[in-house]
Chain length 202, copies 2
DNA sequence: GTGTCCGATGAACACTCGTTCACGGGGGCG
DNA sequence: CGCCCCCGTGAACGAGTGTTCATCGGACAC
């Protein structure tokens, strides 16, 4: 229980951190308010001083995450570069972000079903915005003749699914270094759009 | 509720069908025995005439599914063919199977966390067996010089994650036909291992 | 016809769920 | 000092959880 209170962490942030980890581990329905409170080391009723309900807590986590994800992605990808460079930046950013924030991304993609309509709407809009950025890169590469993608919409989703699944099996302590994993993803995905880094074509 | 009893469907099978759908929709923790019973149209206590507990019901669903998946995969892939042909068969089989049985596969990959240790062990062994079949194809193709895969273990998981995600977004009623989706997957994945169907290389 | 057994019932068990509320302590501001 | 207002407590609420059990109808074997 209980973090040593590093720097300026108030109860609300600590609650967020523990809730995020627990939701990712056992799922929204599998975690009780008592679990969250117990993990932090407070009473269950204390949570309601910071979040109106369990549902609001989930929405708060998901929206905060999606907004940060989109902001970070925009900072990491230079949209004036060539499609090939954009795609590689996007992939390297996403896999790294995923490995830094495995729980947040996992929740955002898995717990949509646990959201009540109004919250779901908000999150879906943000998720579509992110997906559309990748799709835009594929479209541009296709139009420029750099990529060969039969169907950008489908391929975009394939690529996201592939990358989002990484946290299910990757262990930081495993035989494979993080940089190596990122490289494999970058190469595999560039290849999948007909644009290998080893090829002279690009 | 209640199916009209098509052909020879007994209560146990009907329970399985409804439980599978509900688990996939709302998650194991999000579904109560009363939900399942209510969906079928019987009392909750009737379930215990067929399954010892909710946990046993989940294990039953997952093991049955994994065994059928492996059996069907072995029947669909000709392991005497070339690695390229094997991979294409595997991908086409998996995507089709996924679209035929979206709930079962989704549960098998998502609800591992809801399994108690003994059941999880059984399912993980089966899942590894399936994954290993794909990895074997990649290894063979790599050794034969047909594929270029930096790391077969990682790429195998990437491919599975990509394919397993299809049910999240694919709608049978959407603009894209099922055959078209399968084609996109086959082409994208063959490309990702450096072996495009359009290329003379293979 | 009689006996057996499978399977469904509905009430009940002890427990956990999300949420509410009256209460109190302690720090900041007038 | 006196006031208020965060923010925490602990007990309680009604509802829902998985599971058990005595009971009973009806199909099948002899």
């Amino acid at each position: 229980m209980a973090d040593l209170e590093t720097s300026r962490s108030n109860t609300k942030d600590i609650l967020r951190d523990h809730a995020r980890r627990l939701f990712a581990e056992r799922g929204y329905e599998g975690v009780s308010m008592r679990d969250i409170a117990g993990s932090v080391g407070v009473q269950q009723s204390a949570i309601y001083n910071h979040f109106a309900s369990k549902q609001h807590l989930l929405v708060d986590l998901m929206v905060d995450h999606m907004e940060d994800l989109i902001r970070s992605m925009r900072a990491a990808v230079d949209f004036r570069a060539t499609p090939r460079e954009q795609l590689e930046s996007f992939v390297r950013f996403h896999v790294n972000y995923q490995l830094d924030n495995p729980d947040a991304l996992f929740i955002a993609y898995m717990e949509l079903r646990s959201l009540e309509p109004e919250g779901r709407e908000t999150v879906v809009v943000l998720r579509d915005e992110y997906e559309l950025a990748l799709r835009g890169i594929l479209d541009a590469g296709d139009a420029a003749g750099e990529f060969e993608v039969t169907n950008p919409a489908v391929v975009a989703r394939c690529i996201l699914a592939m990358m989002t699944g990484v946290t299910v099996w990757y262990k930081e302590t495993g035989p494979l270094g993080r940089e190596a994993v990122v490289d494999v993803f970058a190469e595999t995905i560039l290849r999948s759009v007909g644009c290998s880094s080893a090829t002279a074509e690009c």
